[in-house]
């Protein structure tokens, strides 16, 4: 979780250099969900995500250097520089892809579980989605099929209250999404996304349910995007949300909360934390150096034949 935070803070620091020439949707503030969920998964379990995917990719074990190189548009990136921040993939880590069309990867993740069902494989397919995605028809379509055939899918809904700048109450009536999920026949839970351990436990329970073959599950976690929808800055000054609201959520910082808990329980000491921070610092520096030194894809890579597999 701290690693995700530090990677993205580095993006914030270096974005003004204008060498990362693609949109970035930062997960700062939302790391608790990614970390807690992925901690409860096996390596074989798969993860897919949407536009705000850095945290999910890293939490599942996606290669850091390849992600940063991708954001820098270099040929060493995880998509050879064809994807950018919004298209991450690391098949070795079973992170199967993220795309920015709202809800676009939901049915694909259901398809992964469908194929597993046909092949009699047991892994769980996890799909991260925002609360806005539950407004898309494709979510309901995908859930219907997943429940019908008891596919091994975990739908993780991160409710950060806003779709770009549009608040929840402009988009949805005042009723819980978990109620809709329940009506669809899903196993349902709801938790505090700022409490990584709670996220972990609730995910474990859901995954146990899914692995037992009882059907897919839906968990909604409350969370908050600290920075602007797209880009490295803060945007509270725009007026679509209040500074007070932002500060209240910032106080619940998932990284600080876990750190405090770990110190209190004695599982970490201040000294270990300092040492972990410095290790991550080095890893992050290396990744950015690697990306910046990597070449851009050559002109020859712009050939229509690369649109097709042979």
């Amino acid at each position: 979780m701290l690693r995700i935070r530090m990677v993205e803070e580095k993006i914030v620091e270096l974005y003004p250099e204008q060498q990362m020439r693609c949109p970035v949707h930062l997960s700062i503030g939302q790391e608790g969900v990614a970390a807690g969920v992925c901690e409860a998964l096996d390596t074989k379990d798969t993860v897919m995500s949407g536009h705000r995917a850095h945290a999910h990719y890293l939490a599942k074990g996606g290669n850091l250097k390849k992600m940063i190189a991708e954001i820098y548009g270099r040929e060493t990136g995880c998509c050879l520089g064809r994807g950018g921040s919004m298209h991450l993939i690391d098949l070795d880590a079973n992170f199967k892809g993220s795309t920015p069309i709202v809800g676009g990867t939901i049915p694909v993740a259901v398809g992964l579980a469908w194929a597993a069902h046909m092949k009699k494989e047991k892994q769980v397919s996890v799909i991260f989605l925002g609360e806005g995605t539950t407004e898309e028809g494709v979510w309901h379509e995908s859930v219907t099929f997943a429940v019908l055939h008891k596919l091994r899918v975990l739908f993780v809904c991160e409710n950060n209250l806003y779709s770009v700048y549009t608040p929840l109450n402009e988009r949805q009536p005042d009723r819980p999404r978990t109620g809709i999920a329940k009506a669809h026949g899903l196993y349902v839970d709801h938790g505090d996304g700022n409490k990584a351990l709670e996220v972990y436990e609730k995910t474990q329970n859901a995954v146990t349910h899914i692995r037992s073959g009882k059907g897919p599950a839906f968990i909604e976690f409350d969370t908050y995007r600290w920075r602007e929808h797209c880009g490295p800055n803060f945007d509270n000054a725009l007026g679509y949300r209040s500074e007070e609201e932002f500060l209240a959520w910032q106080k619940k910082d998932p990284v600080a909360q876990l750190e405090k808990q770990a110190l209190k329980s004695g599982s970490l000491t201040q000294k270990t934390i300092v040492s972990i921070r410095s290790q991550i610092e080095q890893e992050v520096t290396d990744a950015f150096t690697f990306a910046k030194k990597s070449p851009y894809p050559k002109k020859g890579a712009l050939n229509p034949k690369f649109s097709y597999a042979s």
Binding site: G77, R82, G83, I106, P107, M118, T144, F145, S310
Partner: protein, 359 residues
């Protein structure tokens, strides 16, 4: 030459599915009504009984979601065949087709391809109307990453479907409703028709008629009738819309010096215009006359037989246009058509047995 075995297009498609399911355990078929008693115009009858529920699936009425699920299955190593009883319903899944299926291979750095076949049936005649009859080959051909095939004769309907299933890319298989009843000699064995290769269904030296799908059957019949008035037309059946077999078209036009394109889609932004552009751009010098096209008027399909009679291109239009291009007085066309009673024996809004094979 092995003995002839005449079956129709629907049977050929069913046979392609049957043999692909038998040959490759990764193949499965899914679509609304696929396992039902009518089996999508007979093209999937008995397949569930033969291969079981895990290979032959029905589905929720959820076109976009199920297309995405097929993409997920495809990148997991399966070979889905998704079936839509009408192309028009598949329009609900354009997000998954265009944003995901077509781009997955490229945008993720060529790591995973999407071996997915989407069969879309195109309605025609009998009052199908505006939303049961759209020929959207140009729309799909516009999207890089998709292949688009559109067979006319049963042998190609089978060979192209098997080839599409074996292809590592997403293939849109456009299946005109009226090619289901076309008869033809179809090889019994498992075989593929190469995607991207046109066929010359009639040799000729006066005018090249390029066409596809059901219109290729009308073009062929028109060419046979043109022969009676000493017009020797060559018919190029595209079979694949994307990638277009430009070399085959060019070779024929170089021989005849005249080009007529007959398309089942709309005129504006259509495949006919694309073909003419390709020829004119590079081979203007071989054209003896300006090329011409016959396509649908740029308006939705009506339902009334009183209107469809004029809406859809027909043999007479093809013959007249061909005569016009080569400078022959089309007045003789009417005479030939009047002599051929087989044409007028069938109403215009059902398939005409006089040009439905056997091929």
């Amino acid at each position: 030459m092995p003995r002839k075995r005449i079956i129709n297009g629907a049977q050929a498609i069913r046979e392609a599915l049957d043999q692909s399911l038998a040959k490759d355990p990764r193949v499965f078929v899914v679509g609304e009504g696929v396992p039902d008693p009518k089996g999508v115009f007979g093209t999937s009858i008995g397949l569930r009984e033969k291969y079981g529920k895990n290979r032959v699936w029905d589905m929720p009425v959820a076109e976009n979601g199920m297309t995405g699920a097929c993409i997920g299955a495809a990148i997991s190593g399966m070979r889905p065949v998704l079936v839509h009883q009408r192309l028009d319903f598949a329009l609900l899944s354009l997000d998954q087709i265009i944003n995901n299926a077509a781009k997955w291979f490229y945008m993720f750095g060529g790591q995973q391809s999407v071996p997915l076949v989407i069969r879309m049936v195109i309605g025609h005649g009998w009052g199908q109307g505006a939303q049961h009859s759209q020929n959207l080959q140009a729309l799909f051909a516009h999207i890089p990453g998709l292949k688009v095939v559109m067979p006319s004769q049963p042998q190609d309907a089978k060979g192209l479907l098997i080839a599409a299933i074996a292809d590592p890319n997403p293939v849109i298989y456009l299946e005109h409703r009226w090619i289901h009843s076309a008869q033809g000699n179809v090889s019994k064995k498992y075989f593929t028709t190469e995607i991207g290769k046109a066929a010359i269904t009639k040799r000729g030296s006066d005018v090249t008629i390029v066409s596809s799908s059901y219109m290729a059957l009308e073009a062929l019949r028109a060419a046979q009738l043109l022969a009676k008035i000493n017009v020797d037309a060559e018919v190029v059946d595209l079979r694949t819309i994307s990638p277009l077999d430009t070399p085959a078209i060019t070779r024929s036009v170089k021989k005849t010096g005249h080009l007529l394109v007959v398309d089942s889609g709309w005129t504006n932004g259509g495949i006919a215009g694309e073909i003419i552009a390709r020829v004119v751009e590079k081979h203007m010098d071989v054209l003896k006359k300006p090329p011409a096209r016959i396509a649908l008027p740029d308006m939705p399909a009506p339902s009334s037989p009183g209107l469809t009679k004029f809406y859809y291109p027909n043999i007479e239009m093809i013959m007249r246009k061909a005569c016009n291009i080569i400078g022959k007085d089309p007045v003789v066309v009417a005479k030939v058509l009047a002599e051929d009673t087989s044409l007028s024996a069938t109403p215009h809004d059902v398939p005409n047995s006089s040009y439905m094979g056997p091929f």
